[in-house]
Amino acid sequence: MRILKQLLRHKSGLIGSVITLLIVLPIALAPLIYSYDDVINMNLAQVLRPPSLEHPLGTDELGRDLMGRLLWGGRVSLVLSSVSVAIGLVAGVTIGVCAGYFDGPLSWLTMRCVDAMMTFPRMLVALFVITVMGQGEVSLAIAVGISTIPIFARLSRGSTLALRGIAYVEAAGAIGASHSRILLRHILPNILSPLLVQATLAFASAVILAAGLSFLGMGPAPPTPEWGAMTAEARSYLVTAPHIVLAPAVAVLLLVLGFNLLGDALRDIMDPRLTQERH
């Protein structure tokens, strides 16, 4: 609650929250307005209609309501990105916290692997995973998730290393607390705020990466509406009906922008050192 209040008082936090809400809310309400059948069944009598009362953004190249597809497509994008961030977060934090807490050759080796993964662009890591797993929404979510692991692993290892030498963690060890108790009760709660900031920013980049991969044909197969895939499918209409091509891409831009603003604001709020420098 305290964070929420501060967020709304922060300029980019407020703008970010508004943008995010304006996009996420209609997406959440989409099933009340459009049935899924409407957005996947083509209607060749209504192809490429201009915006009207019945179709606020017009219809696409297969006669489907563009607004409906955008909203349902947003659900796919949101779910894909959330799942992938969750995968990256859980795996990355587990790796990072353990590598930071337990010293040893295994930790060293794991972190070298993480470093090596970090060297490569996330797009390449994701494509590698998709090559192994095949194309489709499940492997897309896992691929984006795996490409996110190094970010969380590094961050949580660094934070854990810093906490390990602090008196209350040493004291917990001295009174006989088990490793798992120290990790779960003393270390994990104290690295949550940098993780929250990173998760917000990682969500933004997951949306953009997933849309990009989907644009390249690595995501859900048609007729599933997905923002990247929608742009790719309508590409040949760029000159004659640019709005069909650009609308899903602009949706990606806005959602990513909203989360980037939120992430920046959260970083300012969670790190008082930075805030002091600003004012």
Binding site: P121, T131, A211, G212, M218, V239, A249, L257, N260
Partner: protein, 305 residues
């Protein structure tokens, strides 16, 4: 500094070995028989058997690995199943286009990003600053295919200034480089702005001002040179992600570069070609990172000792 560079150089063969191992394992961890996957759905059992022998899949995993390593060392990464030509040669050919695109985009990114970042830092709190902050945030948030399509629409379709597909003349590289470069400029502008703000608030800048050093020298000699270190490090990191963005940009602009080749190879299930693309892509990124680290050590006097 020499020690740090020597350590990095020592690590290089291991990184490359790990890369080639990953490429080797790629085909082995795919569920199913690699020969069957590569031969395609309508291959006869005889064709699959022949391919199994040709790829050495009938030997033990360790033998396969050693043979693969030996072949890679002699520059042989197998024959592309799609075209019948050597996969490595094809990937290296494609690399020329990607490298051109990457270098030009990087120059655009540095030029635009640093200028905007410095301007924003100097005019801190003004409308110009806010505008630059908003634009650079949009640059960070825009999907690569959107910037590409907007450029195509405005400069290619409406103004008809430059070609929008292919890679036959230097003019063909204008829009793709702008598309990648401007996105990267957003991130660089953000870093430059915060690095400059940090530096400009230092005591030595105030001292220089008190001594009567001119503003231009203060900004460029005292300010930007010190802010240059974090900027350089981010620029180096970005060079890698630039190749990631190039996958999308090359596809849109029909540039026969490495990124597009990789996507095509994945779609064709041409695993030999995928392996070659990944090794070339990866080796390039490893080398660029090494070069950045060395440049970093040279530029930052604190790292020299």
């Amino acid at each position: 500094m020499l020690y740090a560079i020597a350590m990095r150089l020592l690590g290089l063969p291991f990184m490359l070995l790990a890369l080639v191992t990953a490429a080797f394992l790629l085909v082995r961890i795919i569920p199913g028989d690699p020969a069957l996957l590569m031969a395609g759905a309508d291959a006869t059992p005889e064709q699959v058997a022949a391919l199994t022998v040709r790829l050495g899949l009938d030997k033990s995993l360790l033998t396969q690995y050693l043979i693969y390593l030996g072949n890679v060392l002699t520059g042989d990464m197998g024959i592309s199943l799609r075209s019948g030509q050597p996969a490595l040669g094809w990937a290296l050919d494609a690399l020329r286009y990607s490298a051109t695109l990457a270098v030009v985009s990087m120059l655009i990114a540095i030029l635009v990003g640093v200028v905007l970042g410095v301007l924003a830092a100097l005019k801190r709190g003004t409308v110009l600053d806010t505008l630059i902050v908003v634009i650079s945030l949009a640059g960070v948030s825009i999907p690569a295919y959107l910037s590409a399509m907007l450029l195509i629409l405005v400069f290619g379709v409406w103004m008809k200034l430059v070609p929008i597909a292919g890679a036959t003349t230097p003019l063909h590289f204008v829009l793709p480089s702008l598309s990648v470069g401007l996105i990267m400029a957003g991130q660089l502008a953000r870093i430059t702005r915060s690095a400059m703000l940090e530096v400009l608030s230092q005591d030595y800048i105030r001292t220089a001002k008190a001594k009567g050093v001119s503003e231009r020298i203060r900004i460029f000699k005292h300010g930007l040179r010190n802010a240059g270190i974090p900027i350089l490090s981010v620029a180096g990191e970005q060079f890698g992600s630039l190749f990631g963005a190039a996958v999308i940009t090359e596809t849109i602009f029909a540039i026969p570069g490495l990124g597009r080749l990789l996507i095509e190879a994945i779609n064709w299930r041409d695993y030999t070609l995928i392996q070659a693309c990944i090794v070339v892509f990866g080796a390039l990124i490893i080398l660029v990172n090494l070069a950045t680290d060395i440049a970093y050590a040279i530029v930052d006097p604190r790292l020299r000792n």
